[in-house]
Amino acid sequence: MPIPVKPEQSTITTCAYCGVGCGFKAETSGGQIVRMTPWKEGKANHGHSCVKGRFAFDYYRHPDRVRAPMIRASIDDPWREVSWDEAFAYAAGELRRIQETHGSGSVGAVSSSRCTNEEIYLMQKFARVGLRNNNIDNCSRICHSPTQFGLSATLGAGAASQHFDSILQSDVILVVGANPTEGHPVFGSMMKRSVRRGAKLLVVDPRRTETVDSPHCQASVHLALRPGTNVLVLDSIAHVVVTERLYDEAFVRARCDWDDFELWMSQVGDARYSPDVVGPEAGLDPDDIRDLARRYAAGPNSTIYYGLGVTEHSQGSTGVMCLGNLAMACGMIGREGVGVNPLRGQGNVQGGSCLGSWPHMFTGYRFVTDAATRAVFENEWKIELDGEPGLRLPNMFDAAVAGSFKGIYIQGEDPVQSDPNRHHVEAALRNMECVIVQDLYETETTKFAHVLLPGSSSLEKNGTFTNAERRVSMVRKIVEPVAGLEDWEITVGMINAMGYELKYDHPSEVLDEIARTSPAYSGMSFDLIERVGSVQWPCNTAAPEGTEVLHTVTFPRGKGSFMLTEYVPTKERVDDRFPLLLTTGRILSQYNAGTQTRRTANNAWYDEDVLDISADDAAQRGLHDGDRVRVVSRYGETELGITVSGRVHPGVVYTTFHFAHTMVNAVTSDLNDWATNCPEYKVTAVEVTKVTS
């Protein structure tokens, strides 16, 4: 009889797959997860889910899991299983030895946005009290670091201004460089719900994505701009707002710095940003630019959501500023239904940004150069701290190649697959004397590791995640970690091994420490989250259960600041040798570098990266659907299958980056954002030729 097994136990937790942060009930039987069902009270998902969080959980018991700590003296040696203590002692010993030889700044650490807030916090603490330097970075370096920079510069807070539900009160939704239905599916569903209720959708994206055109969800305006022209087009939109006087003068006068506004008006108001000038350069109809600008400015409630299509450019931070400027100019910030909102990739990228895993910042975006902030932590940690910024992740690799950086502790990341310029990263790692990787599986990066620490999945530990709407939710241990330790315990072990004595009985104590040291978190505690379900920071005495909408009265920086956003074309250019622009993105069923999803049945939908190419470009090259091609750029090459697709314009090709063997980052450039070094993943000049086998 087909009677289903009835789960014995159900535990509420938070999905780690993307920045939506859905609440789930993990249902278990016999100590194993039998299913995950969406939690109706989850404030980010209200009982909805996607194929990843709902079904793709089997990765946690995949045979590939690393089940014991391992070490080796050389990457050419075989791994040797050791005890945790031996692993910690060996790793710490190596780091100490390197520091003694090459200086205190020759080692660093990288935290993972798949880890909890508490774990990320502990990683930066590891660097600051264990390594005694600021060489700590996090993976948002390669995705949303420009968000933090650009939004802080204009508004004063590097995070989403709204909560997800707020989109239901929007009349106009402007999506820039994002495809929520693939990248943030549960939010994508909420966006579609808003569109079905009458909100108009405006999309700026080189591709005709599902967001642009799917059943019952069609963009009113789609600017399919040439990759790399974001800032140009956003400035042109601003040009229309300024020259047609569509801005909200009362708002700007009340809330923003008027002098900066005038400076900005004179810049974007210049004829060089007129749609008639910009249109041809960006591959757009000038009237579409005007149409979009007018619709956005007309509102009444217009909101902006954006993704890596804005940030992963050499002007990523500038692009984010353009959005902040636009929202302020039109008075579209500080209430329900408006705002500027980054769609963050990994489950805890916002946490990665907030929890001080930066070479230049402590928790809550406070500079290490600020003595008062340092004093807070020096007092808490009873140790003197370095007052100068440390190395960013790409700079660590640069320095490693140059020979001045020799050891790294990488938590839950696979930079060989996910960071720009794969060959450069490999050279950097090969140049190091001690690479410590803490991960669930052996990865491209562990090939270069000397110490392999078995990480715990989000199903195997307690802690909190912060999603893309600043919402802090509980992650709960459903099953025991395979190697006995939760990630935070591993990092504590490493800190102790480095000679700094430290003890926590539970991650809640780490959050308490964060609350003690960080004003935006001062009211946050496990107890509070248990009680109210989830809490959006800032959470403090003024907002004891958190804050849904930011910037309602003032901006954190006081007056909103209009930044000048001059368009500087990327150095990456097409020419006769590399006539196509490659841009990258993700697909619904796979997640990031695919580490987890590739180890689930999600491969039924998508089991390799595929290159989308327009019919024109395919025909010119004699290519057909399903052919394999060689993709060559100035930096490297790889092979892919192709789909002839109406979703990309002639001149543009597109692929995902989920599969290790594809090595898309062998092709992408090493250009990066001027402010944060976020890589320019979205623009690479390539040529595509058929592989004849």
Partner: protein, 247 residues
């Protein structure tokens, strides 16, 4: 604005989405209850503690009114309106139980049972089981005239999705999956094909779930009250049909 999303409670299904309207007071089986205007009588009954059986209604979806087991009587109104699609009114007097209501609900449930695999009821823990308990009918008598009628017991068994299956034999055509795909997920991958007794849930153009536009979000599985759509992981020994009465 947010009640329809934020007033949802896990483990509690009041049948229709919570609303934000002004308070309205009515009585259900003599129990006074105050709910937001725009709420359904079904929801008000649930809050008043009077459990009205339901199948096609769930609080994450807009009311639909197809299953006809949530019928009630309302003072001053003709007939037996479905409580899920009837909005509350101030001073409304609702009866959730009467001889006629019992008879109608049993009559409807018997129709469902006449096209449902008998062996899949005992031991089940679906919402359909709950409803059968509430109505007090679990199987058709051996000599019931509805036995051996036309049915869908040899219908599609779709195992194509790696994570969930669809067994048409257990489908009660309440459209909750179709509505979830539309209202919650926004993909519109499912529809009801055909009409009348021939109505069936189909993916895409009557193709397998995997071949359809289904994005496997699980909303349909979550919405299904009869386990026709269900996670494969709950069947560690594989899935076989209980009985295959020939159509």
């Amino acid at each position: 604005m947010w009640s329809e999303l934020r007033a949802l409670r896990d483990g509690v299904d009041l049948g229709t989405p919570p609303r934000d309207g002004e308070p309205v007071t009515l009585s259900v089986d003599g129990v006074p209850v105050t709910v937001a205007a725009g709420s359904s009588v079904l929801l008000a009954a649930g809050i008043a503690g009077c459990t009205v059986p339901k199948l096609c209604a769930t609080d994450t979806l807009e009311p639909f009114g197809s299953c006809r087991v949530c019928l009630v009587e309302i003072e001053g109104r003709r007939g037996y309106p479905a409580s899920c699609t009837t909005p509350v009114d101030d001073g409304m007097q609702v009866r959730t139980n009467s001889e006629m209501l019992t008879k109608l609900r049993r009559g409807v449930i018997e129709l469902y049972l006449s096209d449902f695999p008998e062996g899949d009821i005992d031991g089940g823990w679906s919402q359909l089981n709950d409803t059968l308990d509430q109505v007090g009918v679990h199987r058709l008598a051996d000599d019931h005239p509805y036995r051996s009628g036309a049915n869908h017991q040899s219908g599609v068994l779709d195992l194509s999705n790696p994570y969930f299956l669809f067994d048409q034999a257990k489908c009660i055509v309440c459209s909750r999956c179709v509505r979830a795909c539309e209202e919650i997920q926004g993909t519109f991958a499912l529809t009801i094909g055909g009409r009348g007794f021939g109505s069936t849930v189909v993916a895409g153009q009557d193709e397998s779930f995997l071949d359809s536009d289904c994005v496997s979000c699980g909303a349909c599985v979550q919405a299904c009250p009869s386990d026709a759509l269900i996670e494969k992981s709950l069947f560690p020994g594989g899935y076989e049909r209980a009985d295959s009465r020939q159509a």
